[in-house]
């Protein structure tokens, strides 16, 4: 089945509509692409740190959907080798002067602060002067797990009045977390697909769990109740969401683009249905994290 041209569509009828979809890659591939997204990062020790000998930078491929503190054990080990134990406090990261919030997914941090920059991503590692005002402490992985699970629960509260997550057993919750922690796509999605189900007749989730991040504001993020389908039954799109919550991101035809709307490092078209985005481009915490950054001036 080769490509189906527009003229073929003229004689399309119900029985051949399915063939349209054949040409398009399967939506499942999006889930894989999202999960296996990696950002090459170069970790360098902050010059403020005292070391016994010079620390080599450490290169790592970071999963976009994971959390910094969850995947940087190797970084920590690497730098601890050149440091005295007494100089070491809680590790934290910074990019060009901005402390990186570990409780945002890595991809969000990168899109928000470092998109349109050269790769690898240069992250500075600190072991001192923890910026208490900007960052949460992360003493162990169980803190990350608690944060991750609370996000999932919040998302399901929005999507299904918590019905799906509450129906799951403890071990199912664990499976979600273990899936993320060990980068097990199948393990994670075997469970997560239940969280992505919805009654067909409703056309989508109750509310879309999303967060809009921006660099230019002090507010951490925008989050409101937003349904995937309008009361009149229209499918709502990314554009509809932004129109309501961040109108500045939508520019008129002739205007130069002021903002980039990034999800997982890509800019989906504004007519993309928000329900589809929520099902396919959400992070493992089941939130759709949208970064709005100023458009590059060139």
């Amino acid at each position: 089945m080769t490509s189906l041209g527009v003229e073929d569509e003229l004689n399309s009828n119900a029985s051949c509509r399915h063939l349209m979809n054949v040409i398009m890659a399967d939506d499942k591939d999006v889930l894989r692409d999202v999960w296996f997204g990696r950002i090459p990062a170069c970790f360098t020790l902050s010059p403020e740190e005292t070391t016994e000998r010079e620390a080599e930078p450490y290169y790592l491929l970071l999963p976009r959907v994971s959390y910094l503190t969850l995947v940087t054990d190797k970084v920590k080990k690497h730098f601890l080798r050149v440091m005295k134990t007494e100089d070491v406090e809680e590790m934290w990261f910074e990019y060009e002067g901005t402390p990186l919030k570990w409780h945002y997914p890595i991809g969000v941090l990168f899109d928000l602060h470092a998109s349109n920059t050269a790769l690898p991503w240069n992250v500075t590692v600190h072991f001192k002067n923890f910026p208490e005002r900007d960052l949460l402490h992360c003493s162990s992985n169980s803190v990350i797990e608690a944060h991750f699970m609370s996000c999932i629960k919040e998302a399901d509260a929005l999507k299904h009045k918590s019905q799906v997550i509450n129906d799951m057993q403890k071990k199912d919750h664990k499976q979600l977390w273990m899936g993320l922690q060990n980068d097990k796509f199948d393990q994670f999605w075997a469970m997560n697909r239940k969280l992505m189900e919805y009654p067909t007749e409703e056309g989508g989730f109750r509310y879309i769990p999303f967060r809009i991040y921006q660099t230019t504001s002090d507010r951490p993020f925008i989050q409101k109740l937003f349904r995937p389908v309008s009361p009149e039954g229209h499918t709502l799109t990314l554009g509809d969401l932004l129109k309501e919550l961040f109108p500045a991101a939508i520019c008129a035809e002739d205007e130069p683009k002021r903002f980039q709307v990034m999800i997982h490092g890509i800019e989906p078209l504004l007519e993309t249905p928000i329900q589809w985005l929520s099902e396919h481009l959400s992070h493992p915490d089941n939130f759709l994290h949208i970064s709005i950054i100023p458009a590059p001036s060139d």
Binding site: C16, D26, L119
Partner: protein, 1190 residues
Amino acid sequence: MPSSLLWAVDVYGRVYSLSTAGQQWEHCRDAHLEFKRVTAVQQCCWSIACDHNIYLYVHASEVPIRYQEETYENQRWNPVDGFSDRLLPSDRWQWSDITGLKHQPLGDFQLPSENWEWEADWYIDENFGGEPTEKGGWTYAIDFPATYTKDKKWNSCVRRRRWIRYRRYKAQDTWVKIPSEQTESLPDPFNDITCGGWEITEEPRGCLALWAVSLQGKVRTQFFIQSCRGSVWEEVPVPGEVVQISCGPGDLVWAVLWEGHLLVREGVGRDCLKGSSWVTVESPSPGVGVVHVAVGVNVVWAVTKDHKVWFRRGVNSHNPCGSGWIGMVGEMVMINVGLSDQVWAIGFEDRAVYFRQGVTASELSGKAWKVVSVPRDSERSHSSASASSLQSAGCFFGGEVRLQSQASMLSDADAETERAGGEVVPTPEIGDAPKPRIPKVTSDSFISELVSDREGQISRRDVPPAGPSIPEEDHPEKELEDRASPAQVLSPSQSGGVDPQWSNVDLEEAQTHLTSGPGGDAAETSSLSSVATYNLALEEPYGLDEPPKWAWVSGGGCLVECHTQLNWFNSSTSTALNSSMQAMSLSITPAQTAAWRKQIFEQLSERSKREMENFMHYEQAIEQSVWVKKGTMQWWRDWKPHKWVDVQFALEQFSGVEGNKDGILFIYYTFNDEKKYLHMFINEVTILVPVLNDSKHTFAIYTAERTKQRWPMRLAAATELEMHDWLALLSVSCCDSRGIQGPPSKQAIWSVTCKGDIFVSEPTKELEASPYPTPCAQMFWRQVGGHLRIIESNSLGVVWGIGYDHTAWVHTGGYGGGFFQGLASSTDNIYTQTDVKSVYIYENQRWNPVTGYTNRGLPTDRYMWSNASGLKECTKNNTKPPSPNWTWVSDWTIDYAVPGGTDREGWQYAADFPASYHGNKTLKDFVRRRRWARKCKLTTTGPWQEVPPIPLSDITILPCGPKSTVEQVSLWAISNKGDILCRLDTSQTPGSSWLHVGTDQPFKSISIGAVHQVWAIAKDGSAFYRGSVSAQNPAGDCWYHIPSPTGQKLKQVSVGRTSVYTVDENGNLWYRHGVTPSYPQGSSWEHISNNVRKVSVGPLDQVWVIADKVQGSHSLSCGTVCRRLGVLPMEPKGHSWDYGIGGGWDHITVRGNAMEAPRIVMPSLTDNQTATRPLQTSNQPEMNGNPVGC
């Protein structure tokens, strides 16, 4: 499921149909008559018009309704003339029927009515019992009447030959008046009609019963057998005056008496379609009579005069009267029971059509009434209506070409809109003015007639019937006479020359529509949708804003099942919702969908490239670790002590060295207090097969080695769900380890098990390599959702399947479905699929001198209720559907269609068990048996989409070469009745419709080769070759009868690039010798093998079969996939077999695999190397294994 139609009559007498796939009532345009009753079955609809005549509307079908006329030419030999038509005075006529008793010269055959036409002229039947006579069709005998033989002998004194001619019914998709035979002096026209009875006999559409009531309250009935016109109306005496009657698909017939009581017909059955007697059933509420009754297979519903609805308890064919009434909610004026006992009604208050929701086999009374609220098409212009009826297979179904041209002729704009929409996006509704041609019948009088108002009926009964009491009918009657052509074919689209008067009207309409302008459109639409103003009701009886008022509904042709998605219930504020739905479907057209989706796909791959491509040498942040899934299961320990053993089951998955995933399966068990384990590498697993077992949820795991040994590992899970979870997980794991994901390729090899499960394997180039192909035991098979009996494919990715219920399905390009959920399945392209098959059990009896046949057998006898072999006890109660996925959809019925024939009660007789059975009792018979059948149904999902409307029994798709750029692919198929069909599909889109290819007899197997060689096998076991089929002439011109191998009845045929193989009923595989381009019929059959069930010859002439009795080291398997080894261009027969997966396989198609093997250059020791080389792709001719120099 094919769409089917609900029929209804509104209070103005207009007939509408609503397709289960559609969302609006389609007006039957050619019905310029007005109707008061309709009764529908799936293939046609009967009605009584206001002129009191009966009309029939037959749905057009791609397979024409044909009837074979035959007559015999008889000759006798005399020494002077030889054989001549000079017969002895005592002889039969020169032209007679088969018995010789009836004189029938060719010229005496007349078409029964103008609705039939001759298909061709008379011709001689050359086929004699499956063999060509080759002697002008003559068969010889000593004398009349005698046994005729093909060969002329010395004593052959007489001969005869058969002439045949087909006539076909031409008046389809139009109302045809059925001439009434009014012989009595006083006319007593019909008042009510009901149609049913097609389930009384097992032949699906063999019999149709019509019951009708006359104005004087008399009941008449007639029966249609073998889809011929029925005999005549036969009066059935009734104890009283009947006002209404209803007959179900089965043996239920109920009638309403004028006094309000009910009559039930008893004794209706296979042998007595008419029934024997009436039994009276009292009205449910004393003093309030019944005005309407409706029956189904096992239900009876009634409406009393106070509009209350009643459900009759305990009705079945043994007790047609039932046991008691239950009052139901809702106030209705009439009620109708359709297919699968679904219930339709018309409300008293609103005259809306209601559907009874939640009617299932276990809950026949249903749950609630739901109003059917869809708009009518009367608002639309003619052209758009006809175009949309194409979509919905509405009442113009099948008349596609004509209507489309008509549409474009009428208004280009409309046609454009339709095309641009592509889908069922209705064009904005136009409120066109009421048609001037609609007769101005005062609606009130008509309503009153229809709404079973007793007073009205009484008054009308008091006056002479055709008298002035029904003046409103004068007008339409006159109109009919004015307009109807003498042939009484009323459809303007049907009659060749379009009546100019009609087209004028249509044009006017179209113009009104066009000039109304866009602004007007919008206003009309919204008013239609939101505000329902009734102001037009008086001056404007056909007002559009008024919700339709219905008078009659018939669901007899409307198939609604639990999973059917009906878009008919958009709540009563329907139109607002409706328009928004339209808006929705407009806002996401496929093109736009493609845009945003494409953008995401492209950007994601760009992103991956940008962020990862140059950094793959970086360390991964998360190390891949081992993931283990554990569970408990039972494992069949197939050595001593041969039993199911509880085991721990664990799957360990890890990333292999090259990043691919792999796994190991562990089975831990304890034996003699000793802990032991077995293990199996996931990358060695070749197939996971769910096994049919009614007591355990079992599946089998094969590796290449175990396939060879016929020794799978068998496991059983505690629940079905658990088994499916494991199967899905293991399957994903196996696919991962082999790097297989996504949909099957175009080259894929498909196979089907005897359970209907579908498996697909990706061929490698080495699969057909020669001399050392990959052994087919090593092929990896993965399951695809769905349930099929037959599957066929070609290398352009066209894949069709046929279910056990003969439904045709086309592969959507998806994968997964069934129990594969989530990641193992594609998101799109998965649809609901259903299948129906019969389960058979046998009732066995033995004769003894005292009591005759009884169910008391000898102690050594088989069970009195058993399976076919008699080894297993199968009673009606303990027999379960094949697996929990199947549910019963019918009751046990006697099966008369058993090979060997039966007596009137279904018994087959034999001297003893087990023996060969025959249908009539003889003195030597001491045992008898009869077969009971019960239908069960499966509902599953899979990447299959139904191709309505014709049920098929076989299909074949033109095989193409590896780099073929064929524009159109020929498909040939056989309908379940044996008709041969053909169509052209492009590789992207399934074609639109079937073309019927005329044949003299029913067929059962068909195959088309790479150069359009079409071979077919008739039901009598003879082979035929279709001449002159080519890309330019896809249907060919005539059939050549090919003699079968001596004494064998052929069963199946498969044609590859050049090879032709057939399988006969005794399991022999035959190769056709001497097939050359100039003589494609070939010369003779050569026996290749026995124990073959089915053959599939591919585009490389590779030969694959399903074989029985394949011996492995551990067991023998039946239904095994085998491949012929040593097949080369000059040795198309090959030399030996290679054994693959099985047993339990039923079907395979290798016709998608056109991948030529890579050319292996062997270290050449001798010059004689070419003999063992792989298939040559060069044009260099070969001879005797030695290259022939140019």
